[in-house]
Symmetry: C2
Subunit: 118 residues, 2 copies
């Protein structure tokens, strides 16, 4: 509205690429899926994604927090202190993306044609 | 159906990760978008994604062909020979994914919070 359509398209493409870079970063799709049903502790996420090391999981959670997709809540009334991670509204808004990737992968990816491991 | 649900979940997660690795690889989202409206020549795709070098575009097209997402058709009745790239049924089935990423990016990604460039 009131914007040059070509400029708008360019900006959308930038954001689209940025979105794919977040989602395409190894493990992020699975971490987001681990949080899809509600808040989880670090160890619960780690159990959901067995091949992911604790070091990389910590890194990814920090990155996803910086992107305002995941938030970290500390409940000090617990002993020991309870730390939980959950999706922000922005993170929850990704659920149609995760669902559509899931549906596609389920139908179209077979072992013989999987993307080569990085 | 008839499968151990836990095993099934594991396999779906593998495929889900594989799907994200394809989609998350830099430029793939934009290349797929360039082909969304029909067959395109190499130079047309290159024009659609201006920052992408010809060398990397060639690489990506070969990879997407190997993944049976893109196909290459050669029309020898043209002079010079006409080479066009298009989405396979598997590639076209990605359109709900691309649309949902687009909708999310359009709403939730702002310049201030974009994924850092690689």
């Amino acid at each position: 509205m009131g914007q040059d359509p070509e400029t708008t398209t360019e900006h959308v493409c930038d954001r689209y690429q940025a979105a794919f870079e977040i989602l395409g970063k190894r493990w992020n799709g699975l971490i987001l899926r681990a949080l899809a049903d509600g808040p989880r502790r670090f160890t619960e996420i780690a159990r959901f994604v067995p091949d992911l090391s604790d070091r990389v999981l910590s890194q990814r959670l920090v990155e996803l927090e910086e992107l305002l997709i995941v938030e970290r809540a500390v409940d000090v009334s617990h002993r020991p202190v309870l730390v939980e991670y959950s999706l922000t509204p922005r993170g929850r808004a990704l659920s149609p993306v995760l669902d559509s990737v899931h549906a596609w992968a389920d139908k179209w990816i077979r072992k013989s044609s999987r993307a080569p491991a990085k």
